[in-house]
């Protein structure tokens, strides 16, 4: 029996009220814009507390089973809570790999033991999760992962190297894509998927400094590291399929994710708001006709993406090149974001040259940092160039 419109509305009001009352004050130090820049213990503790608080209030993992820390209600509730968190621009729920990737996967195909072991810790932020997919020499080419996992009795022995491990230095567990069979004729078939512990001898991490100057990622080195054999998800050789499955959950609570916001809200409206008080030729910058033209373009780009999501649900309006809208969403969204954030700085006038740490910097250098961070999305998860190939080949049917 689904919730009535009225019930949902009441819930929305309740969440909003709770968020307003409980959203933490500015801690006086730099907070991450995304889960990819938790650089120190202070930030980690702050975000851990905040996620725990949201979970305790019952606004995280709402659609997950009660016995594993969830609330067992319809996903629509979580979607509403997510939207309110987004709207009210509260701090992020940082344990994203757990909440949006590992957790849903365990929920979907994990054993009872696995569910009991992992799910609650993901939600209450006790167990930080990280992801080990990318490798240094195969950035856009996940299927080519070379990190080896060799079965030895009750254990797998890991050797190799991962990169772009978010919070690798804080994480207790990693979802890991490793090669169990180097001789398989199709490279994808040689991969397996693990829920690997991180606090194991032979697993070492080294923080990577981002172009923003902050930390948040690590490299992860495996040197004869031994993990229990039952860390594997599914069977040997199913790694690629399972890894692809985890990507589905990103789409929100309806798709199985626990919920929470993984990044600070930065809409085109926020971009425009930050220009309050910026002047050009002695007048508000938004009165300049050329600036207005650029801003309208940015608004339309964002609106087109929203409208595309709506249209994607209408079967009759998606018969040309089916799959086009969902498959191009990442490319469009991330490139739009990059352009919009670059515009944000360009329009700031002389203050555009300031950075995080300057009192005069607009919103503490928020947009400067955001622009530099935007490349994590146009590069990570398949560069925009690779995305365009995928769309060309899979949607338009163009030759490889």
């Amino acid at each position: 029996m689904s919730a009535s419109e009225q019930e949902l509305n009441e819930f929305r009001v309740e969440v909003a009220a709770w968020m307003k009352d409980n959203s933490p004050a500015d801690p006086g130090f730099l907070l991450p814009q995304t889960f990819m820049e938790v650089g120190d213990e202070r930030q980690l503790d702050f975000l851990r507390n905040w996620q725990h608080k949201i979970w305790s209030a019952g606004y995280l993992g709402m659609a997950w089973p009660k016995e594993y820390g969830g609330c067992g209600v319809e996903p629509i509730y979580q979607s509403i809570a997510d939207k309110e968190m987004r709207r009210l621009a509260v701090p992020i729920c940082f344990n994203v790999i757990g909440l949006g990737w590992a957790g849903p996967l365990i929920n979907d195909i994990g054993s009872e033991e696995q569910k009991a072991k992992y799910l609650k810790g993901i939600l209450n932020a006790e167990d930080v999760w990280c992801q080990g997919f990318s490798e240094p020499d195969h950035g856009s080419d996940l299927g080519n992962a070379q990190t080896r996992a060799v079965r030895d009795g009750d254990e797998y022995v890991l050797n190799g190297q991962k990169i772009w491990t978010t919070m690798g230095n804080f994480a207790k567990y990693m979802i890991l894509l490793a090669r169990t069979n180097p001789d398989s004729p199709r490279k994808y078939d040689g991969l397996s998927f693990f829920l690997s512990p991180m606090h194991v001898s032979g697993i070492d991490t080294r923080p990577i400094r981002k172009l923003t100057g902050e930390f948040g990622f690590t490299e992860t080195f495996f040197t004869d590291a031994r993990i229990p054999a039952d860390s594997i998800m599914g069977e040997e050789g199913q790694g690629w399929k399972i890894a692809m499955k985890t990507l589905q959950y990103e789409r929100g609570a309806e798709a199985g994710a626990a919920g929470g916001q993984s990044m600070v809200r930065m809409t085109v409206e926020d971009m425009i708001s930050q220009l309050d008080g910026v002047r050009r030729d002695g007048a508000p910058v938004l009165e300049d006709p050329v600036v207005r033209d650029q801003v309208v373009e940015a608004i339309m780009e964002e609106k087109a993406l929203f409208l595309g999501d709506r249209r994607a649900r209408i079967g009759h309006l998606t018969t040309d090149y089916p799959g086009s809208l969902p498959l191009s969403h990442k490319l469009r969204g991330t490139e739009m974001t990059r352009r919009m954030r670059q515009l944000a700085i360009n329009l700031q006038g002389a203050e555009g040259a300031l950075y995080v740490g300057d009192d005069d910097a607009r919103q503490g250098g928020f947009w400067q940092r955001a622009y530099l961070n935007s490349f994590s999305a146009t590069i990570g998860g398949g560069t925009s160039q690779v995305q365009a190939n995928i769309i060309a080949e899979h949607v338009l049917g163009l030759p490889k």
Binding site: V296, L307, I314, L317, S328, L331, Q385, L398
Partner: protein, 375 residues
């Protein structure tokens, strides 16, 4: 999210049916050979085909049932016009529908009941709005004097040579008014056909000088200015719908060529220099379709509200930009073949110039969007 604003996008069963029927109809009845056969013709379309379209009810889709229409509203025309754009099928449907809308929105009951049934029945009508090349010029140059005699010329009146009825914006006692003129009232030589870059289209300069307008065919009052504004927005939307269809067809043409043409021993579709811009055309066309169906959702028979105005203008901007880009790349990516009249790419690039200049170009609408969105 107030700047992004309304993002409603719905699609009724009627619209779905119309889309299916129209796409099939256009594909079957208006293959490229048929389109090309009309490029040099006087009328620009095949009368028998028009009659079939009329018999399908298309001329009356957006008119009230009381006037012989289907009462589905102008949003229901969007899938039909998009399908026609896809087939590059030129007919007076857009002109007639907009003339109908103008009458519907500005005329009194007597006028709409008298004039609209003909339009719904497929008698071509058109609207004459342009006094010069400037869509941003709000003045009206054509004068209706106190003896009800017209004096002046309207530029680039679409489908003028086949229209039976002209709905004409005039200046009457210093105010915007509409005059309805029958083709048989025009003096000999009143029509000066335009040579258009889009050869699937027809238009003419029309000299209305000397025509005495029937008293019952004069529309005055405060609704006129609002109706004129709204019909320009609806015009922008329908042209956007058509341009979106043409962009989608242009994309298909490009994709087909990229899959079959070889250069340097490889299918040219495997070169990223062609592949990636083609993806851009795809995503731009996707955006255009989203915008036109959003706008189709937002418009109805009432005065258009701000959300609807924003939607129509955005649709026009996105669709025209997309087609301008697709048409341009369409020629380039066909290489030498693209440089020939024989290649269909030329049809799209020419259509792009036409669409861009109807009811205001991209810049025209973006300027107004800035005012609506940013104050």
């Amino acid at each position: 999210m107030s700047l992004i604003g309304n993002t409603t996008l719905t699609f009724s069963e009627e619209q779905a049916m119309l889309l299916d029927v129209a796409r099939e109809f256009c594909r079957d009845k208006s293959p490229m050979t048929a389109v090309r056969a009309q490029l040099d013709s006087d009328r620009g379309f095949d009368q028998a085909l028009w009659d079939k379209m009329v018999s399908l009810g298309w001329a009356g889709i957006s008119l009230p049932e009381s006037c012989g229409g289907s009462g589905l509203g102008v949003g229901a025309l969007v899938p039909v016009i998009e399908s026609m754009g896809r087939a590059m099928l030129g007919t007076p449907l857009i002109s007639s529908a907009l003339a109908g809308q103008l009458l519907l929105r500005a005329g009194d009951a007597q006028q709409t009941e008298r004039l609209l049934p003909n339009i719904a029945a497929g008698v071509p009508a058109t609207l004459a709005l342009l006094d010069n090349g400037d869509w941003g010029d709000n003045g009206i140059g054509l004068i209706l004097d106190d003896k009800r005699v017209l004096r002046g010329v309207k530029k680039c009146v679409p489908d003028a040579s086949v229209a039976d009825l002209f709905v004409v914006s005039v200046s009457f006692e210093g105010r915007a008014a509409l005059a309805v003129v029958r083709a048989d009232q025009l003096v000999a030589g009143a029509l000066g056909p335009n040579a258009l870059i889009d050869q699937t289209k027809r238009a003419a300069n029309v000299d209305f000088s000397g025509v005495t307008v029937d008293e019952e065919n004069i529309i005055v009052g405060p609704d006129v200015a609002i109706a004129l504004r709204d019909v320009r927005l609806l015009g922008a939307l329908l042209v956007a719908a058509e341009a979106t269809g043409s962009a989608a067809a242009c994309l298909d043409t490009i994709v087909d060529y990229l899959k079959t043409r070889k250069q340097f021993g490889k299918l040219i579709g495997s070169y990223q220099a062609l592949k990636h811009p083609t993806v851009e055309i795809l995503t731009a066309t996707d955006s255009a379709r989203s915008f036109i169906y959003h706008a189709a959702t937002m418009v109805d028979d009432d005065v258009l509200d701000t959300d609807a105005e924003i939607a129509c203008r955005m649709a026009k901007v996105q669709a025209c930009q997309t087609l301008l880009y697709a048409g341009d790349r369409g020629i380039q990516f066909h290489g030498g073949m693209g440089f020939t009249y024989e290649c269909d790419a030329q049809l799209y690039i020419r259509r792009a110039q036409w669409s861009q200049q109807q009811f205001g170009d991209v810049q025209h609408h973006r300027k107004r969007l800035a005012a609506l969105l940013l104050g």
